[in-house]
């Protein structure tokens, strides 16, 4: 979902992506060389669980009625026993708690694969592991990947479907918005004191401390972080030069840090100022509070950016019923409030507020934003990516 490679994960993640390909490669090579003893292509022979009649039904169900109600869905999912979720780090939008709560509530094992993968790698993981029980069942992807990968998704309308505005979902249920955050500047207030403006970040005391969460030309969080600084300096979604100029200023002042942001680099003091979503800053705040460090967050004036992530079900999901149960669970008040507790603004925020099921204490913790946060259109995002591809590397060189 984001570009962040904690060192140990990156290895397993690569191994994981490569493993299936290697098994396949080994299989083809074995055939080519006609070595009978080498036919250990275990991966491809792994049965797609749910090959039964019930499984077929689950794979085509487009709503609860396809199962004959929630109880039937729960039973079908329990029979499958597990679910593969992809690119859901524990410290991202409170997903650690959500995965655990789902597993406890339904007794279904949650296999969290490639926690630090990007949205694109989620789709790649589905392609490479297609037809095996290792393929991801559900996706949580950025808008760009959601729009361009609809041929990989199964249409499914959750029970809360009607409470979601038409602009926040694909009309047949291929994908739907799940939560959004606001782009923020998070910083170590214990070390640096109060920061109220991006101008301050060129000060020598921030030497090597300021970072985006990834590379703006390739990672959603960093891309939106860039749009935030761009907006704060008078740029628009069409005019990105002010943002590039600001990045150049940071680079010239020696305050920009090009190493990847992880909880480890923040905790060790390598990164003291990080541009990231509210729901990622939230876990940092909690974690550092325990160590007596005050991590604060502010939204720069003019740089109010929001962007929804989207839920989708893999059309070749190895656990089709569990995948649908996961979606039903995410759009329940319980899970929506967990996102909220992780400083993400869930899509059902308004309807839950009206129904009185919203966790108002958690809602009060969301950072204050002046004005309505903006989101680039798909065309604007594409143009901006092309611009960043051409200009980012030179700006930070």
């Amino acid at each position: 979902m984001r570009h962040e490679q904690a060192e140990p994960e990156s290895t397993t993640e690569e191994e994981y992506l490569v493993r299936k390909q290697l098994t396949l490669v080994a299989g083809i090579a074995a055939l080519m060389l006609l070595i009978p003893a080498c036919s250990s292509t275990t991966g491809s022979s792994a049965a797609t669980s749910g090959g039964s009649a019930a499984g077929v039904k689950a794979g085509t169900a487009t709503s609860l009625t396809g199962f004959g109600g929630m109880d039937a869905l729960v039973n079908a999912a329990k029979a499958e026993g597990s679910i593969n979720v992809v690119a859901l780090p524990d410290d991202w939008a409170n997903y650690g708690a959500i995965k655990k709560a789902f597993a406890q509530k339904y007794g279904i094992t949650v296999n969290s694969i490639l926690p630090d993968a990007s949205s694109k790698e989620e789709i790649d993981a589905a392609d490479k592991n297609k037809g095996t029980d290792k393929a991801p069942d559900v996706f949580d992807v950025g808008a760009n990947v959601a729009l361009s990968s609809t041929d990989r998704f199964a249409a499914y309308k959750v029970a809360a479907w009607d409470k979601i505005a038409a602009g926040n979902k694909e009309s047949t249920g291929l994908w739907l918005n799940d939560y959004t955050g606001v782009m923020t500047v998070g910083y170590n207030a214990t070390k640096f004191g109060e920061i109220t403006s991006l101008d301050q970040l060129t000060d020598a005391k921030f030497k090597g401390q300021v970072a985006f969460n990834g590379k703006p030309a390739e990672a959603g969080a960093a891309f939106n972080g860039f749009l935030m600084v761009n907006g704060a300096y008078g740029g628009t979604f069409e005019n990105l030069q002010p943002g590039i100029d600001y990045v150049k200023k940071l680079k010239a002042a020696g305050t920009l840090n090009l190493q990847d942001v992880t909880s480890g680099t923040i905790d060790s003091g390598t990164h003291g100022v990080v541009f990231d979503w509210t729901y990622n800053q939230a876990s940092t705040i909690t974690r550092l509070k325990a160590k007596g460090v005050d991590w604060k967050v502010f939204v720069p004036q003019g740089g109010e950016i929001a962007s929804y992530y989207n839920q989708a079900i893999n059309k070749d999901a190895p656990h089709p019923a569990a995948a649908r149960l996961w979606e039903e669970y995410l759009y329940s008040a319980d899970a929506q409030n967990m996102w909220l507790a992780g400083a993400a603004r869930p899509i059902l925020f308004d309807s839950m507020k009206a129904a009185g099921t919203l966790d108002s204490a958690a809602a009060a913790n969301l950072p204050t934003v002046s004005g309505t946060p903006a989101t680039p259109t798909s065309a604007q995002a594409t143009a901006a990516t092309a611009f960043l591809k051409a200009n980012w590397d030179a700006a930070v060189a």
Binding site: H3, Q5, E7, Q21, V25, A26, I28, A29, M32, L33, I35, C38, S118, S119, K120, E121, I123, D124, V141, G142, N144, V145, S148, S149, K207, G208, Q209, A211, F212, G214, K215, A217, E218, A219, G220, A222, F223, G254, L256, N257, L258, Q259, D260, S268, G269, T270, A381, T382, T385, A386, L388, K389, A390, W392, D393, V396, A397
Partner: protein
Amino acid sequence: MTATTTTAGRDAVSASRPVSPGVVNALGTVPFFAYTAIFLVLPTVLVVIGAFQSRGGGFTLNGFTQVLSPRTVNIFGTSLWISLLTALVGATAGGVIAYALSLSPEGSLGRRVFTALMSVTAQFGGVMLAFAFIATIGINGLVTRLLSAFPALTPDPGFLSSLGGVAVVYCYFQIPLMVIVFLPAVEGLRPQWREATENLGGTSWTYWTRVAGPILLPSLLGSFLLLFANAFSAFATAAALISQQSVIVPLEIESALRNENDLGMDAYAQALAFGMIVVVALVMGAYALLMRRAARWAQ
């Protein structure tokens, strides 16, 4: 294959008749060729095919068009010069160290300890090495903190994330690697050759330019090419030091594969990999030629 194995093979054949020794010998090479086919040939073929394939599966030249763009050519250029530079530093420093080492008494404790140390550091790369440097002269590194009282001496926290920083870190494994691969060559220099040169009235200069130099040159160049390929293919070290700027080709490949803003970059990534294969193939070809020449002097 020595005479003993051949006779043993012949005995076996005469006992059971039909299998010819050629087939038996060829059978022994099967694991090697199978291994090479699976882990070298097939991945290469997949990369080449992938370089021409769009995300939808159709044919595309998009990947190669992007590889030939000025920006990517520039990245290849950086990759090449950083590899050349660190190979040059490694070969020079490592060559001198190897020669010095060859002069110390064989089997002495100092030599054994030093060679062991070189063997370890030559293999000490990747994320661990990057972390070792970050923990030493990174922003909160040990040395950085110790020197914080003297601002003039404090290392620049951005240094490790710059090309210069990467080059310095690469030299950490390049120099010892040179010592390891070059030591056998300098050990092959016989003291008698030097004595003979002196007996014939040659100076130290004559010895190095007319005797030792020509003998060592092929293995020196061969080692240099090995160091070059070593640096050229390195990924993890640079990735841990710089991750948000694609300065060298492996970083650009990773960036293209991960990109969630533009999904159509797989062919570009594979075309980049193809470009790297071409460079490494050229270097390895040159290495093989030089080694063939160097082997003449080995005995």
